[in-house]
């Protein structure tokens, strides 16, 4: 039996939820970045699935853009993480709350 569009969307939703949960729950910046990647890829999966279901290449084209952006984001994100670590000797996001009222 071949998977249907709803199967893909279901999987995508699960992945997105896992990613979101990781962003909110984990206490490590690197893990949070990884979780964001998971969310992005969940979205990519949705795009590809819809593209296939509708018989159009648009979904795949957008996925290329998303992957490019994700790569740039990962590079910038990791650079910030390293800078923060050097500054504070910590990767816990809760210790970076100086920018407040």
């Amino acid at each position: 039996m071949t998977p249907t569009l709803s199967d893909y969307l279901m999987l995508s939703g699960v992945l997105f939820a896992i990613g979101a949960a990781g962003v909110f729950m984990r206490r490590n910046l690197i893990t949070i970045l990884l979780s964001i990647e998971i969310m992005l890829n969940a979205v990519n999966l949705t795009f590809v699935a819809f593209g296939r279901a509708l018989g159009s290449a648009d979904g795949q084209i957008i996925v290329f853009f998303v992957m490019t952006v994700a790569a740039a984001e990962a590079a910038v994100g990791l650079a910030i993480v390293i800078a923060l670590y050097r500054h504070r000797e910590s990767l816990n996001p809760d210790s970076f709350t100086v920018l407040k009222w």
Partner: protein
């Protein structure tokens, strides 16, 4: 006729030259520029009037529309000038007497610094320009421009010696009191436009002529009454006359030009200009006549006891203006304008004469410290005497003709009471004028002892005369009027004698008739009545002179005894009926208290500032709470973002 525009433009040009380059000009140059400007204007005015007289009596009108000034909806106001017989009389008075006063001023103001001298002449020229605009303007708006302009110049010139507190206060008083009248005037103008849909004098007159006189108090009465309120401000009538006596703080030639010969006549002129309108409102005319007579009498009584030579003349001006309004009020417009014209001569003469006295005494203005100046100042004495005779109404001199005509008209129109009060006032006029003459020029010299020590601290005199702090020289060395002043005095004295003959046989009235558009009240001259009245008023004039002679020359002690036995009356008169004090308590203080405690500390501080500060308080208080949302924790932001998206999506999915 475009040359008409040059008449006000030349003095304006003179003003610009002196105002812009005055600092760098020497006195000779700035004085010459100013005199040349006004004198040329006088010559052009003469030429224009000559041309006007050459026209048919019914077509005597020259006009020029310079440009369209305001055009909006139904309102169309052109900057246009019109010369008709009434305006002709006015421009000749303004430029003619104005020229003499300019010439006189070159000598009188000679001790000022160069820049001050130029400033003085620039104001004088500006004043002449505005006054000419006022009388030449062919509609209410152009007139109003001049009307406000002369008010401004009055402020500038009264407060000319602005370092002196009393002078700058007097300038402000003149300006503010005038403002009250101007408010009435402009309301009247609004009403005119609402009623007639036009502001051109001729069109208003044509439109009004189609209406009948108002028996009850209606729109026209209200309109004319409002215009009259403007006139009371400008022409110093009850209740707005209070600024004129204080305006004597200005230089004396200014008093002569503005506060005697020209500006204060603007109200009279305005009523004459709208004679048709006023004739339709008998109620207003009655009020005008009563106010005029009351002012004449009231000011005359005050003038009787004042000790400042210029103040006596100021009250005399108020009194004479009252006569003019009496004439207007009884419908004798031509007589009013005639008195305006003769009064300009002798009042300018009297002021300039008093200026010559003050000049000779280095700023002394108190009658009690003068006396016996006849021999030292012969030119001043004789010319001043002619002026006094003319204003007193001695037959053969200018004042007699015009005053007699006014009283005659009041009597013949059935206003016997007004006539009687007018006659009494004319007695007062003779008394106070000759009081001045006798106290100043006759009797023993009271200058000598007062001159050296007591004067300086009490009377700073002219701040512009710093070169004469003490001058303890012998009083024999008083100098009579220098040539420039003497010329003006002599010409004006000649005018005070002959000006009245222009009115003989009703020629003056006949000339002015077209301007009043048939509103002139014609009366068959009843020879016997006229003659009787003439004899009566001459007798009154002589009686007044005799009284003054008795009390102020022969028996000074008798005058003092009377003053002492009626000390209450004397005190009231000396304090000018306490009018200034009453105004202060009844109007100025309440206004001040309302402004200070009500509007400033109440409305402004509490309400306006409170609203502004309150808004600020609310914003900062709520911000103090809201800023707690900025936790600094990235995950909180991400969570709120996420929840926001979920909520928005949820809304769109399940709505």
């Amino acid at each position: 006729m475009v040359a008409l525009a040059l008449i006000p433009l030349l003095p304006l040009l003179g003003f610009l030259v002196n105002a812009l380059f005055g600092r760098r000009l020497s006195k000779a140059v700035s004085g010459a520029v100013a005199c040349a400007a006004i004198a040329t204007s006088f010559l052009i005015a003469l030429a224009a009037v000559w041309r006007l007289v050459g026209l048919e009596p019914d077509a005597r009108e020259l006009s020029v529309r310079l440009y369209s000034w305001i055009a909006s909806g139904d309102l169309s106001v052109g900057f246009s000038l019109r010369l008709d017989p009434l305006a002709a009389v006015m421009i000749l008075v303004i430029t003619g007497i104005g020229t003499l006063i300019h010439v006189y001023s070159t000598a009188y103001m000679h001790e000022e610094r160069d820049s001050e001298y130029a400033r003085y002449f620039s104001y004088l020229n500006l004043f002449a320009a505005f006054m000419l605009v006022l009388v030449l303007g062919s509609n209410f708006v152009v007139m109003f421009l001049g009307w406000e302009g002369v008010g401004l110049c009055s402020y500038l010139l009264v407060g000319f010696w602005y370092q002196k507190k009393s002078a700058s206060d007097a300038g402000k008083k003149a300006f503010i009191v005038n403002r009250v009248g101007d408010f009435g005037f402009i309301l009247g103008v609004f009403l005119v436009f609402r009623q007639f849909g036009t502001l051109d004098f001729q069109e208003v007159a044509h439109a009004a002529a189609r209406l009948g006189p108002e028996a009850a108090f209606g729109t026209i009465s209200l309109m004319t009454l409002l215009l009259f309120v403007g006139a009371t401000g400008k022409s110093a009538q009850i209740p707005l006359y209070v600024w004129l006596p204080d305006a004597m703080e200005g230089p004396t030639p200014v008093s002569a030009l503005i506060h005697a010969a020209t500006m204060v006549t603007a109200g009279v002129y305005m009523i004459g200009r709208n004679a048709v309108l006023f004739s339709l409102a008998p109620n207003t005319l009655t009020i005008v006549a009563i106010i005029g007579t009351a002012t004449a009498f009231f000011a005359g009584t005050i003038g009787l006891v004042q000790n400042d030579i210029k103040r006596v003349l100021a009250y005399s001006t108020v009194s004479q203006l009252g006569y003019m309004f009496l004439a207007m009020g009884v419908g004798a417009y031509a007589s009013g304008i005639f008195h305006l014209y003769t009064h300009a001569f002798f009042k300018a003469l009297l002021f300039l004469g008093s200026g010559a006295v003050i000049h000779a005494l280095h700023g002394e203005q108190d009658l009690r410290r003068m006396g016996g100046l006849r021999k030292d100042l012969p030119i001043t004495y004789w010319t001043f005497l002619i002026g006094a005779i003319a204003i007193a109404g001695v037959p053969g001199f200018a004042g007699f003709f015009s005053k007699d005509e006014i009283l005659y008209n009041a009597f013949i129109n059935g206003h016997t009471l007004l006539w009687a009060v007018g006659l009494l006032t004319s007695l007062l006029t003779a008394v106070y004028m000759f009081r001045v003459v006798f106290l100043t020029f006759h009797g023993e010299r009271r200058v000598a002892q007062a001159h050296a020590s007591t004067r300086a601290p009490e009377h700073p005199g002219h701040p512009g005369h710093p070169g004469h702090p003490g001058h303890p020289e012998h009083p024999e060395h008083l100098h009579d009027a220098p040539p420039a002043m003497a010329v003006a005095l002599i010409v004006l004295a000649a005018g005070s004698i002959v000006a009245g003959y222009a009115g003989l046989g009703g020629r003056f009235a006949h000339f002015l008739e077209p301007s009043f558009g048939g509103a002139l009240v014609e009366h068959a001259s009843e020879g016997s009545t006229e003659l009787t009245l003439m004899v009566v008023s001459s007798a009154v004039a002589f009686a007044g002179i005799a009284l003054a002679f008795f009390f102020f020359l022969k028996r000074r002690d008798a005058a003092r005894a009377i003053a002492a036995s009626f000390s209450g009356v004397h005190r009231v008169l000396d304090h000018k009926y306490y009018v200034d004090e009453i105004y202060d308590t009844a109007i100025v203080q309440p206004v001040r208290i309302i402004s200070e405690d009500g509007l400033w500390k109440g409305l402004d501080v509490r309400v306006v500032d409170g609203a502004v500060n309150g808004v600020g308080e609310i914003v900062s208080a709520s911000a103090r709470g809201l800023r707690r949302l900025q936790t600094g924790s990235v995950r909180t932001y991400a969570a709120s973002l996420f929840f926001g998206v979920v909520v928005v999506l949820g809304y769109f999915i399940w709505r």
